[in-house]
Structures are given as C-alpha cells and as structure tokens.
C-alpha cells in the first residue's frame, strides 16, 4: 500500500481527498502547514507528496527546495489553473509534476498512479541490456533507478531519471517531447506545457558540459531532445 502525504491548509478539501484516496487503497497523511509538512516529508515514510503551493506559513516552492536538498521523493504539486509562472517555478524547484486546482479526485489518482508506476524499480522482466545502460560517461541502472556520470552518482528525481532513461534508450536519436512526457509523466503533453523543458534543463544542470561546451542533451527545435552518443 503506497503512502501519500498531502500538504494543504484546506481542511475540508484534504478530508475529501483523503476519503477518496483511502477508497483507492492508498494510505493518506495530511499536514496543514509547511513546517510540519516538511518534517513529515523528510521522514522518507512516504512514496509520494502532494504539495499545495499556497501554504499559511511558507511558499510551496521554498518547502520543495528544502526537501530536494535531502530527498528525491516524488512530489506532485497543486497549482492554480492558469498560473503558468507558478507552475514553472514549482517544476524548477524540483516538483515532478503538477495538478491544476480545482481538479477531480479521479484525475488526481491518475496522476499519482502515473508517477508511482515510473518510480517503482522495474522487475527483472527485461534482459540484462535493458537493466543497465552505458552511454559514454553515463551509467543508468533501471533496476535500482540510479544514475552515475563519470562514476559520480547523480542525484536525480524520479521524473528526471525516467526522462534520462528514455533519452538513453534511444541515444543518438531525437525523442519527441510527447514521447518523453508519456514515458516520464505517464500523460500526454497539453498546450503550453513546459514541464518537459523544465525537467530537461534541470538534468542539464546536473550533467557537466561537453568538452566543446555543448550540452550532452541537445535540443532539436520543434522536435524534441537528443542524447549525444559516444565518447
């Protein structure tokens, strides 16, 4: 049973979500403010955190930044519909995906499932070559969902790992943003959706620059992204 922490100050709304999620066989805890929410999130008891961006005592993004210093637990954030800036700041601070508020509980559960599915270490169904990928200095282990770069461990969030994995599986080829979104977020891209771009730029920050100052992940305008093969 997956454990979910909801950090939101709206008592009635969270109790409704709790009611719904429990029936969907999740274990739900609720924190009504940022400081108790952060403390609970850092306890690494939970499989996923649902975080509201407007909290009484701190801004959701601040909590996220503090959480990301120590934990890669998947975070789904509640954003206000139409507030694009809020969403991009949230993704840049390390959220994995977002849900627009107001949303139906069904949509919320679909998002939760999509993320949890990606995060789970893949069972040993595939062959050995699918288990670990070596692209130049990059090593990806699909079973443990760990990545290393020049033998140095990369501290990737689950969505970032999934994205890098999708790019690595087709290294040298252009992978469309839509494919990336389906692979990493379990959903299709919607209009004005900058989620993938934000996640990719965050991965780029974690990888070093190429010797000739190019990034290892290339943007192919209008098409998608490409991981450089070789070396």
């Amino acid at each position: 049973m997956e454990k979910i922490l909801i950090i939101d100050d709206d008592i009635e709304l969270t109790s409704l979500f709790e009611d719904y999620l429990v029936k969907e066989y999740f274990f739900v805890d609720i924190a009504y403010d940022g400081s108790t929410g952060l403390e609970a999130a850092l306890s690494s008891k939970y499989d996923l955190i649902i975080l509201d961006m407007m909290l009484p005592d701190m801004v959701g993004t601040d909590l996220l930044v503090k959480l990301r210093q120590k934990s890669t637990v998947p975070v789904l954030m509640f954003t206000a519909k139409g507030d694009d800036l809020d969403r991009i700041i949230g993704l840049e601070s390390g959220a994995d995906d977002y849900v627009e508020k107001p949303c139906s509980p069904r949509e919320l559960v679909a998002r939760i499932r999509a993320i949890l599915r990606r995060v789970k270490p893949q069972s040993a169904t595939g062959n050995e070559s699918r288990q670990t990928l070596h692209i130049g200095p990059l090593n990806l282990s699909s079973s443990s969902r760990k990545a290393s770069w020049f033998k140095r461990d990369l501290n990737l969030t689950s969505v970032e790992f999934s994205l890098l994995e999708a790019l690595a599986q087709q290294a040298g080829q252009v992978v469309s943003k839509n494919n990336l979104s389906e692979h990493a977020l379990g959903r299709k891209l919607v209009r004005y959706d900058r989620s993938i771009d934000v996640h990719i730029s965050s991965i780029r920050r974690k990888l070093d620059q190429h010797k000739d100052e190019r990034s290892y992940i290339q943007t192919v305008r209008g098409k998608g992204y490409q991981l450089i093969k070789g070396e």
């Binding site: 709304l13 409704l16 719904y20 206000a80």
Partner: protein, 459 residues
C-alpha cells in the same frame, strides 16, 4: 515634427518677417530722405554748439549795446552766422529774415530746447532773446531754399551719406536669420509637448511606469507643471490599477477554493454513492459561500462607485444605530454576548445610509465572531460639534500588532483556515467610512484582551 511645431514656426517667422518689413522700410524711407537737412543725425553738431555758446553767454551778461556791437563785428564761422531775435521776432541788427525760417527755428526749439544751434536767453535788462545760427551758404544768391538752421544733431562728417547695403543681401540675411530663429523657438516650445505626447502614448499602451518629470526637470514653467501633474495622475492610476489587479487575483483564488472542494465532493459522491446526501449538503454550502462572496464583491464595488457626498441624504444617526444594534443582537444572543450601547438624542448627519449601515454592522459582526461566548461588546458614541466618534470594543483575542494595519485589506484573515467569512467585511467598512471623509482605526486594548475599532466621521 508635429503640426504644432509648424504652427509655432510659421507664426514666429511671419511675425519676424512683418516686423522686419515694417522696420526695414521705415528705416529705408528715412535713409532715402536724409538728403534733406532736417533729418536728425545721431551726433550733436559741435561746430554750431561751439559757435553759439559764447555768444549766448555774452547776451546773458553784457549790456545790450555792447552785445549789439559785438554781434555786428562778429565774423561768420565756418559758414555760419548768428541771428538774434527779440520778443517781436525782429533781428537785433535789423537784418531781413523770412517768416518760414523763424517758424522752423521755433519748431526746433520746441522740440529740442536749448540745444545745438538754438538758444533762448534772458539779458541783464530782463529782455527775452532768441539766438540761432544758420549756414551762410544757404543764403547764397540763387539758392532756392531759405536759409535753414543746422540740425541740433548732426553727423560728424558732413560728407554725403554712405550708400545703403544692397537690398537683396539684406533680405536674404533677414530671411535666413529669421528662419533659424523661428525654428529654434518653435523647437524649444514644442519639445516638452513632444515629451508629453510620447508619455501619453506610452501610458495608453499600458506602460504605467512612465514618468516625464525627469526629462523636463531643467525647465521651470507651466509645461513643467503640466508634466508633474501628468506624473501625479499616472502614479495614482498605477496604484488604482494594481490594487484592482490584486483584488482580481485574490478573488480568483478565493473562488477557487470552494470550487476545488465542490469538484472533490462530486468525485467522492461518484466513488461512494452512499455519501450522496452528504455531498449535496456540502455543495449547497459551497454554493452559498461563492454567492456570498460575489454579493460582498458587488457591495465593495458599489461602495467604491457611490458618488461623492454631494448626493448624500440626511440620516438620523441614533436611529440607524438602534436598527443596527437590534439586527446584530440576534447573532450575539446565540453566543450569549451582551452588546452595551447607550444612545443619544437624535441628530442628523449627511451621508449614505446603506454604506454606513454596512460599515458599522460589519464591524459589530466581526466583533461578535471573535468574541468568546458569554462576553460583552461595548459600543460607545460621542458627538461633538465637528465630529462623531464611535468605538466598538470586544473581549476577543485582539490582533497581533504587525497585522493591525492589514486587517482592512481585502481577504486578510488571521486564521487562514476559517472559511466562514468572505474576508471583505472590514475592507467594505473602510471604504464606506472613507467615502464619508471619515477615518477608521484598529487598536488593541492595553491589557491585550480585545480589539477596539474606532470610527471618526466629520459632521
């Protein structure tokens, strides 16, 4: 270069050209007629002056016989000769004189007085004498003109006047100079107007941070003042618009919470049909919240759009207070709260009854909400000649000092989780009181047990 520039430019230029033509032709006419001896010359005729002065002083001091003798013996000097007239306009030496010449000399005396070649003196015998010098060459036989006195002012050199500069050159220089001058002047006048126009365009395109006093500060005139007024207007507009935008932002967030709960409640009802009844009640509550919020928003906008006090009505204030206290007593009784209020005899104030009622009612309701059960709220009204003050104090928890100024902001809530108010009550009260040119302040009781809200209204 706008149309105004060309208007200024043409006006200045035409004025300059007309002035130039008038002055120029005047000067030229004088110049052309300067062959006549009566044209004034800028310099004093020293010769005539030197010639006549000693004779005049002799006439003043010597007796008349010796003066006549001297006059008869005196030689002509540089072609000039002196005539002396008595009161009857007869020459002392009985020389013949034309009446025309005498008239001309008298005219010059009237114009210039004792100057140049004309003198009026009084002899020791108290006889009025009139002296003047004329040029001998004008008396030469065959000369058409009568002898004329030299002008009181005459050029240093008596040679022919220098030829005038060519007319074409004068006109060209004049036109070029006036063009440059009018262009500069028009540019100087229209520059601040151009600044203003650019600023207006920028503001109309939504750039409300436009300010122009910076570019106009080195002028000190009415246009600079206009620029300052413009800046003033734009910053007021900016404040107004940003507060409206903030309100809109807040309102959409306020509306989103009940909508999110409704959305979630419907999801739960779909998942668990047995909770349908509960969901309906919940939905009803949320709809009521939204509709209350919209009602309050409309009230806020009504308060802000009510005309200024001129269209206010006369209100019997103590009667209004009675009604408000009665209305709120019902809610107070539910929490066993006692409202103490001592009314005064009726007096009238000018204002908007609905706004005042809302303002005071909101404050009392707020006090009831934050009061503990079984406590009391006191409403005190004091009235002087100039103002009416009303204080409403409760026994609630008060407000932390740092939040005191913020409690009149829309949607400010100390307890963020409380959803049973629109968050607009005190904001409406503030605007309603400000509409009546009054003031509203919040303070904590000194012992920290309760909040005091005071309203001051001018009478």
């Amino acid at each position: 270069m706008g149309r105004l520039f060309w208007k200024f430019f043409l006006t200045f230029w035409l004025t300059l050209i007309i002035v130039a033509i008038v002055v120029g032709s005047g000067v030229r006419l004088r110049y052309l007629s300067s062959d006549n001896a009566d044209v004034q010359q800028p310099l004093l005729d020293h010769h005539a002056e030197m010639f006549i002065s000693p004779i005049a002083s002799l006439a003043q001091h010597a007796d008349s016989d010796s003066f006549k003798r001297y006059l008869a013996e005196s030689q002509s000097f540089q072609g000039m000769k002196v005539y002396v007239l008595d009161v009857n306009d007869h020459d002392l030496l009985d020389r013949p004189l034309e009446a025309e010449l005498i008239d001309e000399v008298k005219r010059q005396f009237q114009l210039y007085g004792n100057k140049g070649s004309v003198r009026q003196v009084t002899t020791p015998q108290n006889q009025q004498l009139f002296l003047f010098a004329v040029k001998l060459d004008k008396l030469l036989p065959g000369a058409n003109k009568p002898p004329m006195p030299p002008p009181p002012f005459a050029g240093k050199h008596n040679g022919p006047p220098p030829p005038p500069p060519p007319l074409l050159l004068l006109i060209t220089v004049g036109i070029v100079a006036s063009l440059i001058f009018s262009g500069l002047l028009a540019w100087y006048f229209t520059k601040p107007i151009r600044h203003l126009r650019n600023a207006f365009t920028a503001v109309s395109q939504g750039k409300l941070d436009t300010r122009i006093s910076g570019v106009m500060h080195n002028r000190k005139d009415e246009l600079t003042e206009l620029g300052l007024n413009f800046d003033d207007m734009v910053s007021k507009l900016q404040g107004l618009i940003s507060s409206q935008q903030q309100l809109l932002y807040d309102v959409s967030h306020e509306l989103r919470s009940p909508l999110a709960r409704m959305h979630a409640a419907i999801g739960v009802a779909q998942q668990q049909p047995e909770k349908r009844q509960q969901t309906f009640e919940r939905l009803e509550n949320e709809i009521k919240r939204i509709s209350d919020l919209i009602g309050e928003l409309l009230m806020l906008s009504y308060v802000e759009n009510t005309d200024n006090l001129h269209s206010g009505e006369k209100i019997n204030f103590p009667e209004l207070m009675n009604e408000i206290i009665e209305d709120t007593r019902y809610e107070a009784d539910e929490k066993n709260i006692n409202i103490s209020f001592e009314n005064s005899p009726s007096f009238l104030i000018v204002g908007f009854e609905e706004l005042l009622r809302r303002a005071i009612e909101n404050i009392i309701r707020n006090a009831i909400k934050f009061s503990p059960p079984t406590s009391s709220i006191s409403v005190v009204m004091t009235e002087t000649n100039e103002q009416l003050s009303l204080t409403i104090s409760d026994q609630g928890p008060g407000v932390a000092e740092e939040y005191l100024p913020a409690i009149f902001n829309p949607f400010f809530r100390i307890d963020k989780q409380s959803n049973d108010s629109s968050g607009l009550g005190l904001a409406i009260a503030l605007r309603a009181i400000e509409k009546h040119n009054g003031a509203i302040t919040a303070t904590n009781k000194t012992d920290g047990k309760g909040l005091i809200i005071s309203i001051n209204l001018p009478l």
